[in-house]
């Protein structure tokens, strides 16, 4: 079991490697995220983060280089232009923000964006969509939309993800590889590694 930050770094590397096979060049711009006012009003907890390039640089200067996780995070964000997160948690089910999500999907239908993961789990009422933007063989944008019974999350990461730096992090600090589907087949990914005894 590893911290979410380590998993984030590893999974972004895997996604970026996958996205690099998609030969569409497009500049990535930050998505225009909806305000989600209705969700925010009903949320018992919310995370609202908007870090542009200058704030990312400021945050990076306060990361602890002696901490392996923070050092890895510092490397990860070195090429980024922005991280934007809107995440809401509810005590009970709330209406799905269909209009806002549709506005997002219209932006993600623009040239340059590719749907990487689209999973629906009816039994758990959980959906997950991951989109990636690629420019000259390099992933330069990521969008995640996840809805769960009592959580709704949108993440937009903008900027160049350095594949080489990220791949060097895989396998270090006890970080396992996170298997994802092969980009050109519908099927079988390897089973996740079993938990450490």
């Amino acid at each position: 079991m590893n911290s979410p930050i380590s998993k984030c770094i590893v999974t972004l590397a895997a996604l970026a490697a996958l996205g690099a096979r998609l030969a569409v060049a497009a500049p990535a711009a930050p998505l225009k995220l909806p305000e989600f006012e209705a969700l925010a009003a009903k949320a018992s907890e919310s995370v609202n983060v908007s870090l542009d390039a200058s704030l990312l640089g400021l945050a990076a200067s306060f990361l602890d280089p002696g901490d392996p996780e923070e050092a890895g995070a510092k490397q990860l964000i070195a090429g980024l232009k922005g991280i934007y997160v809107r995440s809401y948690t509810f005590d009970k089910a709330v209406p799905y923000p269909a209009a806002e999500v549709e506005a997002l999907r219209r932006q993600l239908a623009a040239p340059g964006w590719q749907s990487l993961v689209k999973v629906r789990k009816e039994k758990d009422h959980t959906n997950a969509d991951i989109y990636i933007s690629v420019d000259q063989g390099k992933a330069n944008g990521l969008a995640i939309i996840v809805s769960e019974p009592r959580e709704f999350t949108v993440v937009n990461i903008v900027g160049a993800i350095d594949l080489e730096k990220l791949r060097r992090l895989e396998g270090r600090f006890g970080v396992p590889k996170v298997p994802l589907p092969d980009g050109d087949s519908s099927g079988a990914a390897p089973a996740p590694a079993p938990a450490r005894p």
Binding site: V85, T126, V146, T153
Partner: protein
């Protein structure tokens, strides 16, 4: 209760097991003595009380305080930047935490085994 039984435990059962696993335990028999011995080593022959020590250093504190105030005024801008930087760092860590959570969830959903056909249990 066997490990197989744990599969059917709800959160309450797991929490009870965690409480049991994390029952406080005592240190070795000489622990307190070891602490007091280290304290005695740190202050050989010094019999001043805490209050006497505090009183004796009050004058020094007053001088130091005035110097600190001057420095604080001079470095106000730097401190504001530090606060902003720490807040940005906190938000960055929170953002990466949420992102890692959701990527992990998506990965697990993708790699979950397909449901068995004609499953008849009640489920949701």
């Amino acid at each position: 209760m066997s490990h197989q039984d744990m599969n059917r435990d709800d959160d309450l059962g797991l929490e009870q097991r965690l409480r049991a696993a994390l029952r406080p335990v005592d240190p070795g028999a000489g622990f307190a003595g070891g602490v007091m011995a280290r304290i005695a080593t740190e202050r050989p022959g010094n019999v001043r009380t805490f209050r006497a020590r505090a009183a004796a250093s009050w004058g020094g504190f007053a001088l130091a305080a005035s110097v600190v105030v001057a420095l604080l005024l001079a470095h106000q801008q730097q401190m504001r930047r530090t606060e902003q930087g720490l807040e940005a760092r906190r938000q960055l860590i929170e953002a990466l935490r949420v992102t890692g959570d959701k990527l992990d969830l998506a990965s697990r959903m993708v790699n979950a085994p397909p449901p068995a056909p004609n499953s008849s249990d009640s489920g949701a």
